[in-house]
Symmetry: C2
Amino acid sequence: MKIVSARDFNLQREVDYGTPEQNEAVHAIIRSVRQEGDAAVLRYTESFDGVSLTAEQLRVTEEELKAAYDKVEPSFLQAIREAADNIRAFHMKQKRNSWMDLQPDGSLLGQIIRPLKRVGVYVPGGKAAYPSSVLMNVIPAQVAGVPEIVMVTPPATGGKAGIDPYTLVAAAEAGVTEMYRVGGAQAIASLAYGTDSIEPVDKICGPGNIYVALAKREVYGAVDIDSIAGPSEIVVLADDTANASYVAADLLSQAEHDEMASAILVTPSQRLAEEVSAEVQRQLAELPRRDIAAASVDAYGAIIVVDTLHEGIQIVNKLAPEHLEIMTENPMEHVGLIENAGAIFLGAYSSEPVGDYFAGPNHIIPTNGTARFSSPVDIDDFIKKSSMIYYSKEALLRNGETIMQLARHEGLEGHARAIQVRLDNEKKAVDGDGE
Amino acid sequence: MKIVSARDFNLQREVDYGTPEQNEAVHAIIRSVRQEGDAAVLRYTESFDGVSLTAEQLRVTEEELKAAYDKVEPSFLQAIREAADNIRAFHMKQKRNSWMDLQPDGSLLGQIIRPLKRVGVYVPGGKAAYPSSVLMNVIPAQVAGVPEIVMVTPPATGGKAGIDPYTLVAAAEAGVTEMYRVGGAQAIASLAYGTDSIEPVDKICGPGNIYVALAKREVYGAVDIDSIAGPSEIVVLADDTANASYVAADLLSQAEHDEMASAILVTPSQRLAEEVSAEVQRQLAELPRRDIAAASVDAYGAIIVVDTLHEGIQIVNKLAPEHLEIMTENPMEHVGLIENAGAIFLGAYSSEPVGDYFAGPNHIIPTNGTARFSSPVDIDDFIKKSSMIYYSKEALLRNGETIMQLARHEGLEGHARAIQVRLDNEKKAVDGDGE
């Protein structure tokens, strides 16, 4: 792993907006599903997944779910349940109540906080189906109180039409209420616009290939979507007290995700820099996904040697990484100085995979420098707020003139008259009383 | 105003994504500003606004701001200050603290909540400069704690280069910290990528014409943007107790915004329906903006007569209006049944303009049916959250095997090894102690 001095380093990568052909293909699929509904969905499923289904077969049955539970090992089920409990407990802490502010003039102002009504979660098929990702997408919605959570995932190819039993079990444990075997852009179109078999949703979440990403972009507005994740990133900020083999292992745990993933060590310790560099080489040689990890390390990995931890923190804030590990003597003393990082792992035992799978905070975290302005998935992503205004007669009588003045300044006489008609009427009533 | 029975009614309109020529023009402007910085900004300002400036003149000076204060009437300043106080008080109630959950095994999990560092607010020029809109965009950012709030607004055309003094005063009162006389797509590009004169921001808010909207869309990702507002909407849900002249005035206050605005009454009262219809005609005839309001009423206005209030509520939930007024005998008893509405106004005195200008809740509210999944602007739009994970040694020793099992199930051996290296090391330490 190359050791470099502090320099202009940037995590931002170009976002993939697809080729014109891919965009056109996605556009055509969405149009067909909107026009033909299930018929189009079944046709695309046959052509892309090689599976011929009837509309009735789209929905996963209770029997299939039961069979899936029979297939997974009890230890896996136990592990998923423990992880789900932790994720649920952490997200429960984020819940907020609707609130009201009672004014002395009798007015009530407030915010009503409600869950979304129906959410769709896309789960990729085959090897890209990660049970942990199912938990992280579904549990926040469930904790937020979303009553209808729909999973869509492509059927196994080659006529089998099955779905990975681990995915089914994770989905059921997380709180999915309906499951459909449909994937790709046709799944996104079904969720956005509905078909005879699949009711439309209010928001679509979850990762997918470029066709899924483009379809989500296209249906945004008709429904909400989550953000589209870039390659994974880790920055480790460490001083001379850090264990080089821990640092190297954590860097590689991100590098193995993707050839475009980025793993960076920032340290004022030349000794640590050299030891981590050697450790990365050593551990890399034994890693099953060494080709991917090596490509990532070569292209997007770096060890940045800085003069001081303070300088290192400035680099971290500029990078705004998805994951930040702080392995220094007193990690807590640096947290307050971190302005931009999606998730912050403190100390020698807070290895990043702890957060990927188990601790409780969400592992869907802003990438590509967007931690400057966005946040990990949490229950705020599955609620909506309505303002509530109950204005008392006293309040309107007292403030009506001021409101009309502001409206008239903006040339909106109709706004002023909506107030005036009430003031006039009240004045008439008072005059009437006086007679 | 036409009276119709309950039927398929939809507030959703096509979003304007601009012509290919408009998109190409915006793309070229952004590219030039990225490449040439101030030079491009000054060139576009000369060509679009007819104003020749130097880079030093882009920023509004203290003297200009002082002159603006001298120009506005004391009563306007007083009104703006009262409104700002109310808006600030309401948004203060939304503030959340960073929090931690202390686990019995010594682990700490939490969310760090911080303001964005730098926010840009676009304010349209000329007649479209609404001081109320400046307050509503800026105050939530200021209350959230954003230290740098930058306003950009086009200079007056024809070589004057001035900015509406009411806009300057509203901006200063709301908490803007820097002001620049630059508009259009060149302003958005400057905020997103920075020039010598204007530092880049983390998020861009505020309304603008089609060029501004397209530019915001294009820079999204490099920075965050707010959502792009559609035409204004109001639905009034009223029973036989409602005052027809109030209802009509409130419907017209939205209709006067825009020919594409939508104003709808939903009522089980045939009498009210007829009276409101007549009142709308009567009030419309006297309205300065009657041409706009009449076009809106004709194209997108309706009085929907329903059998019961309950049926009316179902229609409201389907429409998911930006503004909902409930003028019934006991409005509070219906609030709990409203699933989708951006802002809810209760009772005879809570006329919608009360919320536009003065009461405190934000007037930037989801339109186009998106209240199903989005919310009025509030301080959540100007904060970012970081997850915090301090995992104790005890926690890792106890849960390490489970975490590795989940990682290995997903084929991510590198993730498992980041845990394994720690468990091995601890075991060695314990074995060492035992010798």
